[in-house]
């Protein structure tokens, strides 16, 4: 086994090259992204931690198998998030059922972050509480939820979201705007009910 401390100073790209030479270095990549990807999988699939960990295993298996596909033209984090995204969506579609909800804590985070965004609607900021937001998010289409999660929870910029979801930049901007409007509408509907 390699010395883990040696990994910390290395860049993602260096670790990819090292992993191709010695698979033990792949431990460093797993270690670096395991926590981030578990959260991301949970956030977009609304799945439990156990389910997310199962998907995570498949994600790293696929990342390792496809290491040669990564060419450095995009950020490694975008590339690994893309694989995680694809694996999560296909696992989710296999199950064909959506678990109930993501945790309330997560939604409070999302609510706070979205609310701080200049473009988000003020009504939402003032009236919405975490539970309502959780329900509203669950009702959103997958395509809207994933851009909200990537932008506000994973803190990705438009270019990174474009690389992860494999969609043009213009489409990402449009999706994000629509996602905010849809989220507000869902929250408003719940207010009326």
């Amino acid at each position: 086994m390699i010395n883990v401390e040696n990994c910390e100073t290395k860049t993602d790209n260096e670790l990819v090259n090292l992993s191709l030479e010695n698979e033990d270095y792949f431990y460093c990549i797993i270690s670096r992204y395991e926590g981030l990807l578990t959260h991301y999988i949970q956030r977009i699939s609304l799945s439990s931690k156990e389910d997310a960990e199962d998907i995570l295993q498949e994600v790293f298996m696929s990342v390792y198998q496809n290491l040669n596909e990564f060419d450095g033209s995009l950020k490694f984090s975008s590339w690994i998030y893309r694989i995680a995204h694809n694996k999560t969506i296909s696992a989710w579609r296999k199950l064909k059922s959506r678990p109930k909800s993501i945790s309330t804590d997560e939604n409070v985070d999302l609510f706070n972050i979205i609310a701080s965004d200049e473009n988000i609607l003020k009504d939402l900021e003032k009236k919405c509480d975490a539970k309502k937001l959780s329900k509203a998010l669950n009702k959103l289409d997958e395509k809207y939820r994933e851009v909200l999660v990537l932008k506000f929870l994973e803190d990705k910029d438009y270019k990174e979201i474009s690389d992860i979801l494999k969609k043009p930049l213009g489409t990402i901007a449009t999706l994000l705007n629509r996602a905010k409007i849809k989220l507000r509408k869902e929250v408003e509907k719940m207010e009326i009910n």
Partner: protein, 259 residues
């Protein structure tokens, strides 16, 4: 040490999974670009036929058929090839999408770009007479396509409406000759200063279209005679009804065009 990471690495090692070779990813990328190029080239072939059909049509005869220009236009549009062109442009987009950076451009731009390239190359292929050859090949081999050729024949089998076509079987002079029409009926063509449009061989065996007036069951008064199709290697210009040979162009059979 991160226990979860150790566990995942162990499962990777146990499964004996190995990284896929780099050349496979490169090959896939080139393959997709190859398919994109191929579909765009086939699209260019379709475009060359569209250009040929559009240029070969007589867009000014709608008035003889008691139709509006729009109605006539809609009847004669080469839908078959236009649909093929759009399908190929979409397939080209699907291939492009599979390339490494295939997600960066908006699908509409890729489809429009593919059509644009097909149109540019299509003009070149049309100029090389590929469009015409393909059209004739399809007319021989595709049952539905024969209908399109028949449509043209039907349009020019309307002597009562002033439209007649056939092969010259006897030629006295420009105002007096005999044709066998598309239904094998002989017609005496008479006229007074008949306008012979374009480059036509005024001789027996030439296939012509005639605009004129129906006189009797075997007599037709001609006003204008046109070639059955634009049969020059190079149509230098067309005003929609008037195909002209370019200087130095050649008629079918290798005869030189005379201006």
């Amino acid at each position: 040490m991160n226990e979860k990471a150790k566990e995942i690495l162990k499962s990777i090692k146990d499964s004996k999974v190995k990284p896929i070779s780099k050349w496979k990813f490169i090959f896939k990328d080139y393959l997709m670009w190859g398919f994109f190029t191929l579909t765009t080239l086939v699209g260019a072939l379709a475009t060359s036929v569209i250009i040929f059909i559009v240029k070969d049509n007589d867009w000014d005869i709608y008035k003889y058929l008691e139709k509006s220009f729009l109605g006539y236009f809609l009847i004669l549009m080469p839908y078959f090839w236009i649909i093929i062109l759009f399908i190929l442009a979409y397939v080209a987009y699907l291939n492009y999408k599979q390339t490494r950076k295939g997600y960066l451009l908006n699908p509409y731009w890729v489809i429009l770009g593919s059509i644009f390239i097909s149109v540019i190359l299509g003009w070149i292929l049309f100029d090389l007479k590929i469009g015409r050859q393909l059209d004739q090949m399809c007319a021989k081999n595709i049952p539905y396509y024969q209908g399109m050729e028949l449509q043209k024949k039907n349009l020019w089998s309307n002597p009562e409406k002033g439209l007649l076509a056939g092969e010259i079987i006897d030629f006295k002079d420009e105002d007096n000759f005999v044709i066998k029409d598309l239904n094998n009926q002989n017609w005496n063509i008479i006229g007074d200063g008949v306008a012979w449009k374009n480059e036509i061989n005024k001789e027996i065996g030439e296939e012509v279209k005639i605009i004129g007036v129906y006189e009797s069951k075997d007599k037709f008064k001609a006003k204008e005679v046109r070639p059955w199709s634009c049969h020059c290697q190079k149509c230098a210009q067309s005003d929609g009804n008037n195909h002209k040979c370019s200087t130095g162009g050649k008629l079918e059979g290798g005869k030189n065009c005379s201006k």
